[in-house]
């Protein structure tokens, strides 16, 4: 709060430079790279949603892909089988992932630490198991191909790449804005308090459990939003959306960028998406190389890029 003025200025600066740049991208990039930027934005939203849990509240979920995948499946199925309009399908998909987050959260939040890690992972694999096993509805292993992108109105079709880009940009910007607001709100400070000391928060009279459940569900909803956007991007959804490897990937994005900063995980997400794209372009063994990146981040940048910047500044300040 003491740095409020300067962080305000930097936000204004970022928006003033970033927004026109983002708006101009469709005129500069080829459709392929525009699609890549869309993917980066979606994962930035996804990573920020996990950062609310890990960075702000200190709850490390290893099953965050559950909400991403559940709403992706819901949106995909509603569009594919029932032909619902986007404006009904999106709230329905968010509602379902929110309800699942409430149920999973109520179970997982009875525990902490390693139990919490295991249980969030196990519950998300339950969702994966349903997507994998319930062939008649989910298509099982093959997933659901040919999910149509919705039309926003009679004149605006998202099948057009540029339209879709602006559509995703709008939702990701709104989502990011809301999360920044939450982080700076009284509720956001309660989350930080829980991260620093749960016992003190209880002794002060906070109903810690209720706040944790609330942020668990909020994080699930934003992850769900990212999932909906992603199914429209790919026009396809498969059990991979929910797999623990997906949860691990988004965890890596958060830690690489620097947990507890929101902006860091967004950058981390963009970087990982880019890396995966580049590496998988020249070798089939890209999963192995990504594995090495996990090791490198764990060993050399456990506080992420934000931490490296902090250390660098501190060293320079001392000289």
């Amino acid at each position: 709060m003491n740095t409020g003025a300067s962080s305000h200025r930097s936000i204004i600066l970022t928006v003033a430079i970033g927004l026109p740049l983002m708006l101009a991208l469709p005129f500069v990039l080829t459709p392929y790279y525009l699609g890549l930027v869309v993917k980066m934005m979606i994962f930035a939203l996804f990573a920020m949603s996990l950062d609310l849990l890990i960075g702000y509240t200190g709850m490390a979920s290893l099953g965050h892909a559950a909400y991403f995948g559940i709403s992706a499946y819901t949106a995909g199925l509603l569009a594919l089988k029932l032909g619902w309009s986007f404006w009904i399908a999106m709230p329905a998909a968010l509602l379902l992932s929110g309800v699942v987050a409430v149920v999973f959260g109520m179970l997982a939040l009875r525990t902490r630490g390693s139990y919490f890690l295991m249980i969030t992972l196990a519950l998300s694999q339950l969702a994966w198991g349903i997507a994998f096993g319930w062939r008649s509805v989910t298509g099982g292993d093959d997933g659901l191909p040919n999910v149509p992108r919705p039309d926003l109105s009679a004149t605006i079709s998202l099948a057009d790449g540029t339209n879709f880009y602006y559509f995703v940009l709008a939702f990701v910007s709104i989502g990011a804005l809301l999360m920044f607001r939450i982080a700076a709100s009284p509720f956001g400070y309660v989350l930080r308090g829980i991260r620093e000391s749960e016992t003190r928060m209880l002794a002060l009279g906070y109903n810690v459990w209720r706040y944790k459940l609330a942020v668990f569900v909020i994080g699930g909803l934003f992850a769900g939003l990212a999932g909906i956007l992603y199914v429209y991007l790919n026009r396809f959804v498969s059990p991979d959306y929910i797999h623990v490897a997906r949860s691990a990937e988004v965890l890596l994005m958060v830690i690489l960028g620097g947990a507890g900063t929101l902006a860091g995980p967004a950058i981390g997400a963009a970087l990982i998406v880019l890396l995966e794209n580049v590496i998988s372009g020249f070798t089939e063994r890209w999963i192995m190389i990504m594995g090495v990146i996990y090791l490198a981040v764990a060993l050399f940048a456990p506080n992420g890029m934000a931490g490296l910047v902090r250390d660098f500044r501190r060293k320079r300040g001392r000289k």
């Binding site: 309660v190 308090g193 003190r200």
Partner: protein, 246 residues
Amino acid sequence: MSALSAQGVSKNFGGVQALSDISLDVPEGQRRVIIGPNGAGKTTFFNMLTGTFPVSGGRISLFGQDITQLPANERANLGLARTFQITNLFSRLTVMENLLLALQAGTSGAYSLFRSMRANTALFQRADELLEHWQLTGIASSPAREISYGQQRQVDLMLAMSRNPKVLLLDEPMAGLSAAEVVRVSGMIHELPREMTILMIEHDMDVAFDLADRINVFHQGQMIVEGNADEIRAHPQVNEIYLGAD
């Protein structure tokens, strides 16, 4: 009516009896000190009173209301506040932010998601006043983990006091302080409002005798005697425990 009362409280940690059958009543406005050697169960008893751990047996009441089954946060909202023996501040947050969190506890404002924390000017004003009162304005924007140990103890006390509790539990507030700081903190405790009920754990006999209206002595999970300073001084078993421990 007693402000805080424990009847037959006991605690069992996986077969180890940490507390057995503790009963005590603290009348409103009294300053009560619990003394006893390490491992006597004093902090465990505090944790029962505040609801950090559930009791294995017995009953706890606050102004006549049975709070045995209430979670810690609800006890706090009934006016029971505590400090911690091992410093337990929000260490990466500033002193100001620590205080703001304490002040907004129990207010519905803490649930607002999209309003900025800074928009609540009334809260900031209260915080400024309190910092002034506790003479901590100078460190308001320092992260709690970067201030001195003595200052951390003061912030701890300030947080506990910020909601004007009716009953205050102090867990060894002097532990680890320098002689000068002990004088300062015990002065602060002396100046706390007289109508506030205070229950305090203290290791140092002199400090205990200075601050207490009445004293309980714990030893190996049991309460062996209750009395005023003179009675405690004269009690043979107390002398034995303290001399024997030395």
